[in-house]
Every structure is written in C-alpha cells, then in structure tokens.
C-alpha cells in the first residue's frame, strides 16, 4: 500500500482545519489561555467540534477487525498516569503558553509567511533531539 497517500490527504485536511479555525494564529491561542484577560473561546469551539468525529471513529474502530487500508489498529494501550507523562505535559504546556504555538499550528504555519514558525519548528525539533539523547535510546514509544 502506498502509505503516503492517506498521510498527505489527512495532513491537508488537518492543516486546512487549523487555518480555518485560526489556530495557526498564536495570539488566538494565547487569548484562550489568558483567563485573567480578554478571554477568547475559539480554541474551545475547535476542541468541541473536533472531538465528536474522533470519538465516533474510535467507537467504530472497535467494531472493525482491522483498518480499511492497514493490518491492525495501533492505539496506545497504557492507562497509567505517571510522573514522566505529567512532567512532559507541563513542559509542553509552558512552551505552548510562552509563544502560542503547539506542533500542528507551527508546522501548518510554515506556509503562511513570517520567519517565526520556521524558527519555532527548528527549536522544537532541537527539543525533540535533546530528549532523544538525554533519554539515551532513540525513542520508540508510541505517540498518543
């Protein structure tokens, strides 16, 4: 199977959603996080609209023996909330609040002009490399 074909189709759809919802605009994201200032609900609308289709697909997937184009579902099985997860999420959230970019909007923003998303993505990949070398082994853990 040409695995790049569903990859690019889904990536285009995802990137279009990020731009349409203004999530590519860090000021919009920071305004959602600014609960003590002029709060903006946009990010909440995005999550509220994105979760139901995602949840429906997950429910449907549990009734399927395998995905339409693949051999098996790769859904993280771990349910253990550990300090590593909490620390990682806290560091990620701090960087997210600091600039207003998380990985998707920063990468989608590469096409929208400005040097800031480029520098952010380079620094982000640098942070991923630091984690890889700090943790000793190339990370083979599953994304969630």
């Amino acid at each position: 199977m040409r695995s790049w074909l569903p990859g690019v189709a889904v990536g285009v759809l995802f990137g279009a959603g990020l731009a349409l919802s203004d999530m590519v605009n860090p000021a919009r994201v920071q305004a959602f996080l600014d609960v003590a200032g002029k709060w903006d609900p946009t990010l909440l609308w995005v999550m509220a609209a994105a979760i139901p289709p995602s949840a429906a697909a997950y429910a449907l997937s549990r009734r399927m023996a395998r995905p339409l184009l693949g051999q098996s579902f790769a859904i993280p099985a771990s349910r253990t909330v550990d300090p590593r997860l909490m620390t990682g999420a806290a560091l990620f959230g701090a960087g997210w609040g600091l600039v207003g970019y998380c990985p998707g909007p920063a990468i989608a923003g590469l096409a929208l002009g400005g040097w800031q998303p480029w520098l952010f993505v380079v620094a982000m990949l640098g942070g991923m490399l630091v984690h890889r070398f700090a943790s000793g082994t190339p990370s083979t853990d599953q994304q969630e």
Binding site: M86, G127, M128, Q143
Partner: protein
C-alpha cells in the same frame, strides 16, 4: 506584535475548522489504524523518533499540514499571525514544546483531540496539565511580568 488588536472570530470558523480536524483524525484511524498525533508524526518524519507509523505516511502527513493551511489562506480566509518577534522567547518555547511532547508522548492533537475522544486517562490527565501550564505561563507573562494587556 500587539495582542490587544485581536478581532473576535465568528464561532462558525472554529467549528468548521474543528470538524475538519476531527474528520482528519477519524479518517487516519479508520483508514490506517493510526492516531493523528502531530508531535509523534513530526518526530517520525524527521527520524528523531519512530512511533510505529511508517515513515512515508508520517512525512506525507507533515508535508500536508502547510499545504492545507495554504489552501485555506488562498481560497477561504487569510489568517492573521499575531506572534512574538522575540528570538529568545521563540527558541525557549520551541525547545520546551519539542522536549515536553516527546517526554509526555503527545501534544494538543494526540492527547487533546484523539486521546480525550477515546477517554484515555493518560490523555485526559495530560490535556489537563498542559492546559493548566499554558494558562499559568500566559498569566505570569501578561499579568505578573508584563501587565500591559491586563
């Protein structure tokens, strides 16, 4: 860049955009069996990590993101970009986001959209923590240090 000038956005845009994001995550899961987590895909695409997603799929997904954004900017709505011009701030933010998403196995998409949708306790906890950390950082930067936009 000034944040004070942020114009309100009609909810129809984030609802339509959120639906596209949710449908993208749904399509990836049902077609390929994979979770649409951007940080994991980015790590796999650059070969910094290998989350099990085939490299061509991850690389194509990552390339698709800016293509989709450019299509919307050209055909539907040109988004504003209100982003800091501070190089040290962007470097610090990027490093924290890169390191944190690897340590915590995901970001807003993998935990926030996909994990919360399947009621994963790990993803719900992670989403709570990164939201709280983001709110805390913005509070400190804007209302404790800055105070300009209070």
């Amino acid at each position: 860049m000034t944040i004070a000038g942020l114009a309100p956005l009609a909810p129809s845009y984030p609802i339509a955009g959120g639906l596209l994001i949710g449908l993208a995550a749904a399509a990836l899961l049902l077609l390929t069996g994979r979770i649409a987590g951007v940080s994991g895909m980015a790590a796999t695409a650059t070969r910094i990590g290998s989350g099990g997603t085939p490299w061509p799929m991850a690389a194509a997904f990552i390339i698709g993101l800016p293509i989709g954004a450019a299509l919307v900017a050209a055909l539907v709505r040109r988004p504003d970009l209100g982003v800091t011009g501070s190089v040290p701030l962007i470097l610090a933010g990027g490093l924290l986001v890169g390191f944190g998403t690897r340590l915590g196995n995901g970001c807003t998409s993998g935990h926030g959209v996909c994990g919360v949708a399947r009621l994963s306790p790990r993803s719900i906890a992670a989403t709570f923590v990164f939201m709280a950390a983001g709110i805390g950082l913005v509070f400190v930067v804007r209302h404790v240090i800055g105070g300009a936009h209070a």
